[in-house]
Structures are given as C-alpha cells and as structure tokens.
C-alpha cells in the first residue's frame, strides 16, 4: 500500500486525556497510534501499571516495565494528583479543551472527586468521556472487584476453554485489553455523533460484556437448543464426534481443520493433504479413495471414523515442520497453520515483508527496543509508532509551562506540594 502521499494522521486534531490503567491503556494507545494527541495522566511517582511485568532485562522498576512501554507508545505523559483540590482544578482546566477523557476507575470514584461525566460535561458539553469498569457503571456488581480472571469468568469465556476436567484462561490476561480495544471504537462512535450534532456523551464500557461478546455462539446454543456448551479440549465438537484440531509436528504444533461433508473448501483441503502425504509415501490406499463428502460428513460422522482418518494424518504430520507444512498449505489450499510461539511471530517472513516491526530509541536505557507496529494499515494516513512511552512526568514542563502558561517556578511549587 505504497501508492499516495500522506497529508496527516487520521485523528490528528484531537486531544485525549488518558486516566486508564492496565490493559485498558490499549484504548488510548490505539487513538494515539491513529494520531490523536494522547496525554497519559499518572499520579505523582507513577502509574500502578508500571508495576506490571515483564520488565526490561528483568529489572523490576517503574521505568523498566515492558507492559507500560508496550501500551503507551505515542502518548505524552504528565503527573497529576487528582485527589488534591489543586489537582482537580488543573484536571478541569485540561478537560475544558479536551475531546476525549478515558478512565478505568471504580464506578463513582471520579464523581466523588467532582470529576465525573456530570461535572465535566458542564464545563465541556462536547466532551466524549469513556469509562471502562469491570461490570459497568450501575447494577448489582458495581462494587465488585474485577481483575482479568474474574471478568473472564463472569463474562463466560473461562467456562468454555480447556479440557472437561477444568476451565483454563489465556495465560496473558486478556479481559481488560479486550475492553481497551472495544473502548477505542466506542469512543470514536460517540465522537462521530458529536461531529454531526455537536453533542458529547458518556460511554459506559463493561469488561464483563466485552468478554461475553467474544463468545461466538455460546449464548445462542442455550437460547435456541437449551444446550450448555462445555469444554472439549483441543477439538471441535460435532453432533457425534469430538474432532481434534491441534496436531504435533516435528518442531511444535499446528492447527488443522479436518472436516468434510458440506463445505467444499474443506473436502478440497482434505484431499490436498492426502495428496501431500502420498508424495511422501505416507498415504494408506484406503485414504486415497476416501469419500470425504459422505463418509466424513461432519453432521453424521462417528468418533470411530474420525479417529481412523486422523491416525495416519497425525503420523504424517510428525514428519513435517511448521514452516514447510505452511508453505505447502498455502500452495495447495490445505486448512492447516502453525501454532506459532511469540518467537515464531517475531521471525515471521510475512510480518517482515510488511515492515511490521519497528525500532524505538530509549535514550534513558541507551538502547533501541523492538516494538509491534501498526494494528492496521491505512493507505492515506498510515500509523507510525513514533514515540516511546513517557517517563514519569516527562512532559510536565511541555504541558504545564508551554501549553497552560504556568511559570517554571509555579510548577516546582506544585511538585513540592505533591500536586504533580
């Protein structure tokens, strides 16, 4: 997509005040990547998220958190104690001209400080304020503590993953990150209405609902069939069989969709896979003439049939590497792909060809670090990861002195008083 000249960033004119923490920081990051001026506001001393690992070279310290680095690129950062009266006054001053305020405090926290939507919309009626909470702004769970595992459970995703013996989550916490991504789109939906009507509004994001939203068809299974979807391990459950979908290869694992019956692409994939096995001399005669449409009809197939077919395929896959198999899969349209590790992805030729990874300088570390690039490619306003995450209070002078017009001396006084 290298075809035209680019004028500006997609969200260049807008200012965002970001009070979120943890995975919710992704919301502000996406808006910052799209070009908005996002100011991350931390309490003096630094945001609690700076305590989240992994840490740069395992050095646990507020300026070494890779979690912080990753979810705050392209943002500027200031310190401000919004629990002080002076701090609240300063926040209101900033909110007066801001386009978005993002926050992930417990419901009611900002209201108690006089900084809730009701108060802020009075001084800035055009403001879009987005609040991300475990279960939403009101309701019986409002006071609940909802770290990722809990909202993952309440939202229903935990129940359906794992072996029958026990549910399992995704080992890198996902719930608040999902909510952060959802909140970015939601904020822009509210923003669109503002551009049409001049009216701002409050966006109330529930992490629990963001998790429920990932469920595909689990709730429809209950509503339409009165079936409770349960866990089947690494498999697809059909009417009469549990169909394995993760297979071991020489250097790891792959995901293979082995289905027949109605899906034409699937039958073609099955046949192409057997063709590949045959070239290696590993396809049994009966499999070469197997009737994938009728004998492997997903709706009718028995466990016995599936296991019989999967046997020689599993044996063949053990002789393959992820990379080689995937190259053949692309060429022959076989529905198999590598179960990549983080390292495989870092080395992916596809991502390399798309210039995905970027390097950012960290002068304070005397090093350049590798970052994931654009979450999406936009032809006219391409995303650039241009700025590393802010150090604690890095842009205090830039914003308090240069933009709000305070004297350096006054800023020092505020710092000493614990306001910034």
């Amino acid at each position: 997509m290298q075809e035209t000249s680019h004028s500006e960033n997609a969200l260049a004119p807008y200012r965002v005040l970001d009070l979120t923490q943890g995975g919710c920081l992704l919301c502000g990051k996406l808006l910052a990547d799209l070009g908005a001026d996002v100011i991350k506001i931390e309490p003096p001393g630094g945001d609690p998220t700076r305590g989240l690992g992994p840490f740069y070279k395992d050095q646990a310290s507020p300026e070494r958190s890779l979690y912080w680095f990753a979810y705050n690129t392209n943002k500027r950062g200031i310190t401000l104690n919004i629990e002080t009266e002076k701090g609240q006054e300063l926040f209101r001053r900033l909110a007066k001209t801001a386009d978005f305020v993002l926050e992930s405090f417990n419901p009611g926290y900002l209201d108690n400080l006089g900084l809730g939507y009701a108060a802020l919309s009075e001084i800035n009626p055009k403001l879009v304020m987005t609040s991300i909470t475990p279960c939403g702004q009101t309701g019986p769970y409002t006071g609940f503590k909802g770290p990722d595992l809990i909202t993952w459970a309440l939202g229903g995703y935990l129940f359906v993953v794992g072996y029958p013996e026990k549910p399992v989550w995704i080992s890198f916490p996902q719930a608040s990150i999902q909510a952060g991504a959802e909140a970015a789109g939601a904020s822009l939906v509210a923003h669109w209405h503002r551009t049409q009507s001049g009216e701002g509004q409050h966006v109330d994001v529930s992490i629990q609902e963001c998790v429920t939203d990932l469920l595909w068809n689990v709730t429809e299974y209950w509503d339409l069939n009165k079936t409770i979807v349960n866990r089947v391990g690494n498999a697809w459950k059909t009417a009469h069989a549990v169909m394995r979908q993760v297979f071991t290869v020489k250097d790891g694992h792959v995901a293979l969709l082995l289905m027949g019956g109605g899906g034409a692409g699937m039958v073609a994939s099955d046949k192409a896979l057997v063709g590949l096995m045959d070239e290696a001399g590993m396809a049994p005669e009966w499999l070469k003439t197997f009737d994938w449409v009728h004998e492997f009809d997903t709706m009718k197939m028995t466990q016995e049939t599936f296991d019989k077919v999967a046997g020689p395929i599993a044996k063949f896959l053990l002789t393959q590497t992820k990379e080689r198999l995937f190259a053949e899969a692309i060429k022959r349209r076989i529905l198999v792909a590598p179960a990549n590790t983080v390292k495989d992805i870092l080395e992916s030729p596809q991502l390399k060809a798309r210039n995905f990874w970027v390097e950012l300088e960290h002068p304070e570390l005397g090093e350049t670090l590798k970052y994931s690039g654009a979450f999406v490619q936009l032809s006219e306003t391409p995303i650039k990861i241009r700025r590393r995450a802010p150090l604690v209070g890095e842009h205090n002078d830039e914003i308090y002195v240069n933009e709000l017009g305070m004297t350096k001396r006054y800023v020092t006084t505020l710092r000493k008083a614990g306001v910034i």
């Binding site: 595992l149 399992v168 080992s171 890198f172 993760v246 694992h253 979450f375 032809s379």
Partner: protein, 417 residues
C-alpha cells in the same frame, strides 16, 4: 431510512463472509449505520450453515451463529458473477461511504470490484479489507478460518497447561472475535478523516497484526531476552492464589484472583481459617507461589462445600476478587447482565423471538438501534427500491437474469457442523 443512533446516516455495503467482516459491520449497524449485507443463494455464507439452529432444525434462515454476527443489517442476494449482478454491486458502492470485504486477498479484484475499481466509482470511498495475514506479503494467499488465525497469532501457545500441548480457545476461533474491535476503530478513524479532508482510503486489516496488540509485552520481552512466554494454566507469576476452583454441583466453578496481602487475609477469614494467613507456607506471595498446589487444594476443599454464587457473594463482600465461572445458561441469569439488559429478545422473520447480545457499551445520549438479523434476501425489494431507487422494470430484469438470486437458485442445503 432509519435516522437514529450515533452512526445514523453512515452507509455501508458489507461483502463479508464468515464472522470477522460481518461481525465488524454489525457493530456499526447496531449503532445506527445503514448496512446492506450482500449475500447470494449460490455462494452461501458458511455461517448460515453453522450450528446452533433454532430448535436443532438446520436451515439457511435458522442459524444462531449467523444472527449473532449479522443483526441490524439488510440482506440482499446478488450473484456477483453475472453482469447485472456486478452492476448492482457497483451501484451499492456508489451509494456507500464504506465498503467492507471479508474475502481472501484478490477475490474482489477478480470480480472487478477491487479498491481501484471502487475508487473509480466513488473517489472518496473507504474500502476495508480484512484477511488473516493482510492483503500483501508472501503468505497473504492463505485462506483459513478463525482457529488458524488464532494459532498463528500465538494465542494457542499461550493457552493450556504447562507441559501439555497448546490449546485452542472456544471453537478455536478467538481471533475471529477479537479482530472486529480493531476494525471498528480503524473504520471510524477513516470516516472522521474523510469528513475533515474529503479523502477516502483503503484499510488493510491483517488479523494477525491486530492480534499482536493483545500480547504486546511478550514480543518485547522475547526480543530483549529471548524468553518465549508459554501457557501456565490459570496462574500468574505475581499473584497467588489465582485460579479456578470446583464448587457444589456439576461442572460448577469459582474464579479467585488474590492480588495483595489484604485480599489474602480476607480470603482466609471468609474460609473460616484466619490462621492460614500467618502459616509460614502461605504468609507471603513468594511462599504461596512455592506451595501453590497445596494452597489450591485447601481452597478447593472450601469452595467444594458451597455453591459458586454463595462463595462469590461472601468473597466480594469481603473485598476478595471472585467470580462465578458463568456458562451459557448462567449468562442469561446473571444479575448484572440482566441489569444491563445485555440480552434482547427480538422477533426474527423465520426463527421467531430469540436472543441477541447487546453491544458491550452504553452510550448515554444515543442508545443503540439493534434489530433482528435478516433472512437470506429478506430486504431485496427494500434495498433495490428504497435505497437504490431502481424502477420496477429494472428490478424485474435483475430477477430474470438471475443477478438477484432467489430460493430457486439454491443448491441442496448442507449443514456444515
């Protein structure tokens, strides 16, 4: 035309298939955008052939998988390979602000409906393409399903138990469900940019690249130290206890996530074992991590004597993060989701009244505008007459040529799974 919701007036033509693209378009439709879903009887969306079906009776208008990703849209059935079908698609592109493509790279170009073609019809069009690995690059031709995207994105390697093989998420298709959030964000930004500058653009969503955002710090750590993060069950390196515990009843579970010492002491009190907090095996998070198997056994003994709901209420009241591991039925009974009105029961033209999930957020001034998913081609007439303003004669020709497909064009229905 409906004129309500935050996105009232935004016009979208959705050429998507199977989940990601249709689901992305649905999120905009629910907020009031007018979304025309282009389908056909001759190349059925696989999601129409996917379980669960209403009352277990398969049929192309009874899949709950389809309705969950396609509500609040208008369905028109067009054979894009017929000349008049292609012309019709071109009319829809001229009408639209956003064109959405969820087919493998190159498929729309082959039909003469690629970005360059669309741009000639409408210079400021926003053309959104979503594919597993992006629209260009050595592997872009791979056409897989959501489980492939999830496996390739590292999610499988990070799910499951240590020393066991990687695990697929639900249906394997986690990344199918996570990509639409990033798509909505990109499309809304492009729409605002167009509003200000008059410029359209093409958006290339690689679902893999979007999914990296879910794991960002792990890539950095690996690049710096070479460490490869893998699955660790339900445990977290810096917290304990942090896991899932069996409760009274069949397949009933409670999640407990203790993140600090105060929560740990409260948990011990609620379990009626305050002394445990001072026990040298569990007195610090380091000690608890060392003796985690034993700790989990002790907690499991307590939860096993109670219902998940009761234990959650006690623990949350004492300030301990705990949550029922809700199953598909529980979600409908969950008091919080009820309070939020998360499930709506809407009248589908064929399936009758059934459930729809609301968006995961509420807008204070412009409530969403959800309506039921369409039957196949349900809005042919509405789209042709009211949206495209075609004459009765022109509409007749479309049917005669088979450019607009009908049930007569339908091959034998085969349920997929």
């Amino acid at each position: 035309m409906p004129g309500k919701g935050a996105l009232a007036g935004v016009k979208i033509v959705d050429f998507g298939r199977v989940f990601v693209n249709p689901n992305t378009a649905m999120r905009l439709a629910v907020q009031g955008a007018t979304v025309v879903r282009v389908e056909s009887h001759t190349a059925l969306d696989l999601q129409r052939m996917a379980r669960p079906y209403k009352d277990n009776m398969s049929g192309l208008n009874s899949s709950g998988s389809f309705t969950g990703s396609n509500n609040s849209k208008y369905s028109i059935t067009v054979d894009l390979r017929k000349p008049k079908g292609k012309e019709l698609a071109m009319k829809l592109i001229r009408w639209a602000d956003v064109v959405m493509i969820g087919m493998p790279p190159g498929a729309m170009e082959k039909l003469g409906l690629g970005y360059q073609d669309a741009r000639k019809l409408k210079p400021d069009i926003i053309y959104f393409m979503s594919s597993q690995l992006g629209n260009y690059g050595p592997y872009s031709a791979f056409a897989g399903f959501g489980n492939h995207a999830s496996a390739m994105s590292g999610l499988y390697s990070l799910t499951g138990w240590p020393d066991d093989e990687p695990m697929g998420q639900y249906s394997g298709a986690y990344v199918d469900a996570t990509s639409p959030r990033f798509g909505v964000t990109a499309i809304m930004a492009a729409l605002d940019c167009r509003r200000r500058t008059g410029k359209g653009q093409v958006i290339d969503q690689s679902q893999l690249e979007a999914a990296t955002q879910l794991l960002l710090p792990l890539f950095m750590d690996c690049a710096i130290t070479g460490r490869v993060a893998l699955r660790s069950g339900n445990r977290l390196a810096y917290a304990s206890p942090h896991g899932v515990f069996r409760c009274q009843g069949e397949d009933r579970w409670l999640a407990i996530a203790v993140l600090d010492e105060r929560e740990w002491r409260s948990l011990c009190r609620v379990m009626g074992k305050p002394g445990l907090a001072r026990d040298h095996r569990f007195a610090t998070v380091e000690a608890r991590k060392k003796n985690e198997d034993e700790l989990e056994k002790l907690i499991g003994e307590w939860t096993g004597a109670h219902t998940a709901e009761q234990a959650m209420d006690w623990l949350q009241a004492a300030g301990v993060p705990a949550g029922v591991v809700n199953n598909g039925k529980d979600l409908f009974d969950d008091p919080q989701l009820k309070h939020r009105g998360h499930f709506r029961f809407l009248q589908h033209s064929v399936m009758g009244v059934h459930s729809y999930s609301s968006p995961a957020y509420r807008l204070s001034k412009t409530p969403d505008q959800q309506f039921p998913a369409p039957a196949l081609g349900e809005h042919n007439e509405f789209v042709l007459k009211d949206i495209l303003k075609l004459s009765d004669d022109d509409i007749g020709d479309l049917f005669v040529e088979g450019a607009v497909t009908t049930d007569a064009d339908l091959p034998e229905f085969k349920a997929l799974a």
